[in-house]
Homo-oligomer: 392 residues x 2
Amino acid sequence: MREAAILGVAMTPFGISDKTNLELFADAGLEAIVHSNLAPGDIQALFFGNCLGDFEEGQLHMAPFAHSSIGLPMSTPAVRFECACATATVAIRQAVQMVQGGIYDVILAGGTERAAAMGTPLATRTFAMASQAQYETPTGITFPGVFAMAAHLYSHRYGIPLVELKRHLAEVAVKNHFHGSKNPKAHFQKEITVEKVLNGMMVADPLQLLDCCPFSDGAAAVVIAEAGKARDLVKKPIYVAGTGQASAGPLYIQQDLTHVKAREVSVKMAYDEAHLTPGDIDVCELHDCFTMAEVLAIEGLGFYDFGRGYDAASRGETRLGGKGTVVVNPSGGLKAKGHPIGATGAAQVTEIVEQLRGEAGERQVDGAKIGLVDTLGGDLSTVCNLILRGEK
Amino acid sequence: MREAAILGVAMTPFGISDKTNLELFADAGLEAIVHSNLAPGDIQALFFGNCLGDFEEGQLHMAPFAHSSIGLPMSTPAVRFECACATATVAIRQAVQMVQGGIYDVILAGGTERAAAMGTPLATRTFAMASQAQYETPTGITFPGVFAMAAHLYSHRYGIPLVELKRHLAEVAVKNHFHGSKNPKAHFQKEITVEKVLNGMMVADPLQLLDCCPFSDGAAAVVIAEAGKARDLVKKPIYVAGTGQASAGPLYIQQDLTHVKAREVSVKMAYDEAHLTPGDIDVCELHDCFTMAEVLAIEGLGFYDFGRGYDAASRGETRLGGKGTVVVNPSGGLKAKGHPIGATGAAQVTEIVEQLRGEAGERQVDGAKIGLVDTLGGDLSTVCNLILRGEK
């Protein structure tokens, strides 16, 4: 099996945009190609992510149009992927596998979404279609509800009073907004306080407004190539040490909202392939669509025992410059950087690559050598992970 | 590079169904697994195709639910692909590449769609979202219109009076309905006459009702494995000799509706990889979404010179038992077998595999050794091809 590496990475500013999905993706895709010291004609395949272009813009079949907006050659196939919020991570992992298997030498992968353009109420309803439509959607469930239920169950199971858990969850939001304040491309670049979180509008008890990530517009893209070729092209290629993806069914056949089994299976694949353990990870971009989701993720990824991750942010362990072994979501995460659904995984990879190159500016994690990407799709039914590292 | 082969194949009856997409896909997927002498636990990845589950059933993120409805293991990733009508063909080609590259040994690939359940007027409008939404959709273009324009241009360019061309196009419909009459899973199993076609309702001049394929409900699935493993499991593995995929941009940057350039690029890739030429193909399932589309395809695939394919059906050359070198759409094609968008490519592969195994019953093409699959996505912007063969 060949080794895969990441060359150029790019993301548009996340937030509310007047641009179309195709314009956003062209901005990110062309910048990633330029940063790779390549031209569009060098790209051998486009693995393109988007979730709801049909609802957002009446645009199905977006891949070949993204392809032509970047000026890729006709012989370069354009393939659209959709795995809910994990869409771009899955597209990137497939690109990594194709490069590892010798099918292509250079692939552009990423995604775009105009989730903010829809407005939050409509976006919440349409993205709720990522739940199982026959049995779950009719109950009225939406994603804030899923993670609110998880918070209740977590509180009950581990004997942490809800009022106490809410305060610790607020600390996750405060940390990620602090990180976002250092990210000029973040949707939210203002720091917040625990009091502000706890005074927010209730969304799905116990989750309040600032426990929830925003819907954002934005795109991100990365170029993946065979490692030898990568070394010829860029000064600091970032290597793919391990990947994983796992799939669980709908919530009603999953046993426990507080244990995301697909994540445990997926990240184990990635750790095993990389011959690494959670203690080796210096920096992690993980799926904090809600503050509660970050708690579930730091436990599921093995950074904390189950039931022990809820106060990691309060203790300052997952913060930039903090006392822990891993900095979590230095970009601001979905919570503050923003969440353009089909682009999110590629933006996570972009952040980790910049961190491992030492080019993350004010957000730089000192001495970051190994990074982990974690993306959750739907109601805990898809998880995809990537472990990246700099030169050995 | 390893060799990939196809083991079990299966399709549901195409037509109008009361089943959900997940139920349809489970029917086809489980049957394909059983025909491969495998169990769900043996499947290492699910490459799943669907176009508009969100509009059809309020179901985004269908892949992990398809995965659980078949009982696949959590460590088997489920990935959704969408490339308009070429969705399942692209999913299958990606599976072939992953097997060739040594990433997986056994993959289930296919697709499902409930296009008929929507009703034709709504389906025509929603699937028109596969045109470019910013510049083309506002003109009111739909797919019948695209192929009607191609017919006018073809008539003009090659000096064939429209009234004469219409009669030859009707012969394409008559042929494919004749084939469909021999296919117990076809949406339409009745023979029709040229007069019936010419007396039909006008859809988009010069295309009348029976020049157009139906929207159908249905699913199809195939198991792809490394060739050595395939030989251990089934008596007649069918080998993947060559594949191709190419992407053109929106219609307004394509130069000529009568020359589908993406097809020419894609099928050349497949012929070159297989070391074969059009004259080697015995049987072909191609993208006859409209009668005119079959004419464009038999020319673009190299069976006929440009401007010379329009009367192939009239001359009886592409018919079962006909005088030509290749039988076109023995299944009935999209025209009579039906067109459940995201399933179509997998159904085309199913037909070719059954033909090459000599198991196509009344539809059997005598001595078929090499078969070609051709699927077009959107307004000529995605084309994907597969060349299959039996034991050498």
